[in-house]
Each structure stands twice: as C-alpha cells, then as structure tokens.
C-alpha cells in the first residue's frame, strides 16, 4: 500500500463548476458526475454540501433521499428533531448521513460516504483563478456552485 501511495504522484485538487446556485433550491439536491464520480450536491438551509452519491450499504442514490434533521429522544415516547436539514436518509433503507461530514449517524467511525469541499463562488473570481474550468460556462450572471475533486 505504501509503495503504491509513494509511487503515485499526488494529483492537484481541481475545482469544477457544477451549476448555478439558483438551480438547487434549499432542501433540494442534484446529482452531478465529475471525473467519473457521482456526487450529490445538497442545498442545506442555503449552504451547499457535497457527498458521494452512493450509500455504502447497497449503493442507492443519496440525492434521492429525504433531507431532514436528526431525531433525538430523552426517554422512550419523547421525540425531538435537531439540526433540521443537515442529514439525508437513504431512500432504500433509511441510513442517515451527516451532509457536512458524510458520516453515518449510527456508525460514524466505520460507515461514511466521501464528502467533498463545496463552495459558492461568483463568476468574477472564477475568471481570475488558475482553475481548469470551462469559463464559457460561467460567463453568465450570478453565482456558481463549485466542487473540488
């Protein structure tokens, strides 16, 4: 493993424009493909989060899951929701993932989906930076969602 790691040149992180901000409404998600990877972009209360769009359980598309909070209980029969909008439930079997970290709520140490840095950048900044982005795509007005892969 160390041999392979040592032998492989470290690849620069590349930033990719994926869509305009107004294309993903708060509480909604969109699936994008970047360099062969399927990534789910979520609008979490106006902020964007990006995680691998594949549940580690059986591979369901997480961007089709319900965006929700976390159910908590102080004792049997009592319920409260916290961190509204910060979790996604897999549409197949209900596993819950923290959109910010990609970690499974039930098994955070071992079960997680890849999380990606996601940023909102306006068009002027994008044109100034040394990023491999098709700037023709960003020539329009408005802000863009950019994912680093």
């Amino acid at each position: 493993m160390s041999q392979a790691a040592a032998g492989r040149p470290r690849r620069e992180t590349v930033r990719h424009v994926v869509c305009r901000v107004d294309e993903i409404a708060p509480g909604k998600a969109r699936r994008v493909e970047i360099e062969g990877r399927e990534i789910a972009i979520f609008n979490v209360n106006g902020e964007f989060a990006a995680i691998g769009d594949r549940c580690p359980h059986e591979g369901a598309s997480l961007c089709k899951g319900q965006i929700m909070g976390l159910a908590q209980s102080d004792e049997p029969g009592q319920y409260r929701m916290i961190r509204q909008g910060e979790f996604v439930r897999c549409p197949w079997h209900g596993w819950e993932f923290d959109l910010k970290t990609g970690r499974s709520w039930c098994d955070p140490a071992r079960t997680r989906v890849k999380s990606y840095d996601v940023a909102v950048t306006d068009s002027a900044q994008l044109q100034e930076g040394p990023y491999r982005i098709d700037i023709y795509e960003v020539s329009q007005e408005g802000d863009y969602v950019v994912v680093s892969v």
């Binding site: 359980h57 209980s73 004792e75 439930r89 596993w95 819950e96 709520w105 098994d107």
Partner: protein, 365 residues
C-alpha cells in the same frame, strides 16, 4: 496450526463442579401444592382453594407431573430443602443455587388469584426453603397479570436479599417490553432485582405465527423464538433506556440464536433508528450489557471447539451464567463441567459472571 487443533480436539479431563465454588443459576423445587400454600393464604382464599379444588398448578407448557418432565426419582430430590441439599447442593459443593418455581401461577387469568398464589408461594419459598438452607436463593414470583400488585410484592420482599430476581415466562400475554409492565421493572431496578425470563408459555397465543405445532419436538425449538421476541421487545420499547441498571437473565434459552438476532437488529437499527430514537446505541451493545443466559440446556454444537465458536459470536463471555436445571434430566452428569463448554470459562461462568449479574446476591467470603 495443526498442533493446536489436535490439542483442542483432545478430550479434556472431566472437570468436577465440586471445588469450583459454583453458583447454580437455575434449580427447580417441586411446585407447591394446596397443603403447602394454605398456611400462607387468608380465610377467603383458603375457602376458594377448597371449594374450587385448586391444588396442582401445572403449566401446560412443561407439566412436571408427566414424562419427560417428571424426574426419575419422583419428587424426592426436590421435595424439600434437605432433599435438594443431599441430591444436589452437597455433591456439587455449590456456594448458592437459585430456585425457580415455574408453574401454572404464571398462566392464571384471574389477577387476584394470581396475586394470592404469588404471595403465598414466595412465603412458602422463604419459610420452607430459604430459611432451611443458607445456600438457597429464589426468584420472586410476581403477578404480571396485575402489575400494581407485582410492584407491591417486590416492595414487600425488597429487604430480603435471598430473592434475587423476579420471574417471567418467555411467552405470555403480551411482549415484556410493553409499558404495562414498566412499574414492575421500575420497582425491580430500584431494589436491585434482575428480571428472569424462563422458558415456557402461558399459551395465550400459539407458539408460532402460523398456529399451534403438532409435536413436542417443535414446541421445544419454538422457545428460542419466544425468547428472541422478548429481547427485541425489551430493547425496542426502551426498557434499558429507562432502567439502565436492569439485568435480564434468560433461563433455559440456549444461546446460539442470539448472535444472529444481534447482527440483524444492529443492522436494521441503522435504518429503523428514527422510529425508536431512545435506542441510542447499537442493539448488540445494549444486549451485551443487559442480557445474561444460563448454560443448561446448552443448544450449541457437541464438540468443544465448535461450541467455542458459537460462544465467540456473542462477543462477550460475561453473558453466560452456569446452571444445571436440576432436577431435570438432560442426559448428562451435571456434577461435571459440560464437556462441550471450554473449561477455561468455568471460573467466570460459575462465580464471576453470576456475582456481577445479581446485585442482591450476597455470598459469604
């Protein structure tokens, strides 16, 4: 590799129980008859016991007056404390043994009769058994048919540490996790009683989801499903979220069905957690913390190395408690450590685990 395998399959020298200072977590006195209980009943119930001819209180599940449940020596070996001492406590050198009365008392419909029967049976146990041999302990009978009175019975005996747990059956009227029974668990936990669940059914419901089985051979394997239902119910309903110190001892349950349940319930919990958010840890961890199981009869493989694998799947040797199920005959000599159980577990199972399980168990050092 081959050397260690050879060593494992080599027949170990039989390990006598005597000398281990063992605590036997499941022995059975005979069930009390009317003449035993009359001194502990009031005038009303004495009249009812006579006029309704209430005497032999057998559970239809495992009727002890019939073979194969009737002991070959009749009731002599478990007729009284002296008989049990001579036949079992002395030869095995037991430090203590826990008496379980499994009888029709659990299945009586009348909640007030059940209350009178539990109360009288507990007093009979205290006077005729516990007071006659310091090694004896008992499970407290409480009327699950009448939770308020069950609580009152626990309170009455809270000061008597010879009663170490309250006794339920594996299959009753409704799942044991239901809130109906929580006052019983609250009182039990507050006074350090464990909850014991013994094999058997009140036959309120068929033993299977498809109706009654035709044969005794089926009845016996359905017990494991009955226990599994109770494990699922107690965990999901949140009994351990509410009563975090409560220990549950499964008696005559076998063990091999539990690892599969633990794996499956833990996996399903990842998706079903939102329904029961008070289940905050993986169910397998909750089960390991709260459930204990007695060893006789052991349902694992006959070869010790195979049985060791079944035990390893529990991922916790603390869950097992030594028991003989005396005087019931399982076709083996209970005065020796079971040949299919690893001998290196003996000290833990006969003493350490038992002491850690029973808060109320006082053993002279």
């Amino acid at each position: 590799m081959s050397t260690s395998a050879d060593e494992m399959t080599k027949t170990a020298t039989p390990l006598p129980i005597k000398g281990l200072g063992a605590i036997d977590c499941d022995v059975h006195p005979r069930s009390p008859r009317r003449e035993d209980l009359m001194p502990f009943l009031d005038a009303y119930w004495r009249e009812i016991f006579m006029s309704r001819s209430i005497d032999r209180l057998e559970l239809m599940s495992y009727p002890e007056s019939t073979l194969p449940y009737r002991h070959a020596d009749g009731e002599r070996v478990n007729a009284d404390a002296a008989g049990m001492a001579g036949a079992h406590l002395d030869p095995l050198g037991l430090e203590a043994a826990i008496l379980n009365v499994v009888s029709g008392i659990h299945a009586v419909y009348d909640p007030y009769l059940a209350t009178a029967l539990c109360s009288a049976t507990n007093r009979w146990l205290a006077e005729e058994w516990l007071a006659r041999d310091k090694r004896l302990r008992a499970s407290l009978l409480v009327p699950f048919q009448h939770p308020d009175e069950a609580v009152a019975e626990i309170e009455r005996h809270a000061g008597d540490n010879r009663f170490v747990q309250v006794l339920a059956l594996a299959m009753g009227e409704m799942p044991l996790g239901r809130r109906t029974f929580w006052p019983i668990y609250e009182a039990a936990a507050r006074h350090g009683f464990a909850l014991a669940i013994h094999a058997g059914s009140t036959y309120r419901h068929a033993l299977t989801q498809s109706g009654f089985p035709s044969f005794l051979a089926e009845d016996h394997i359905h017990q494991a499903q009955g226990f599994a239902n109770q494990v699922g119910s107690l965990v999901a309903e949140g009994v351990f979220a509410k009563f975090s110190d409560l220990k549950v001892v499964l008696i005559e349950s076998g063990i091999t069905w539990l690892p599969g349940l633990m794996w499956r319930m833990s996996k399903d919990w990842r998706g079903a957690r939102i329904e029961v958010p008070w289940v905050k840890e993986m169910p397998a961890k909750i089960i390991r913390n709260h459930f204990r199981m007695t060893t006789q009869p052991f349902d694992g493989p006959a070869k010790v190395e195979e049985a060791a694998k079944a035990i390893a799947h529990l991922n916790s040797e603390e869950m097992l408690l030594f028991s003989t199920d005396f005087p019931h005959d399982h076709g083996r000599d209970v005065s020796y450590w079971p040949e299919n159980l690893p001998q290196d577990l003996a000290a833990r199972l006969v003493r350490d685990n038992v002491r850690e399980t029973y808060q109320r168990l006082e053993i002279g050092s």
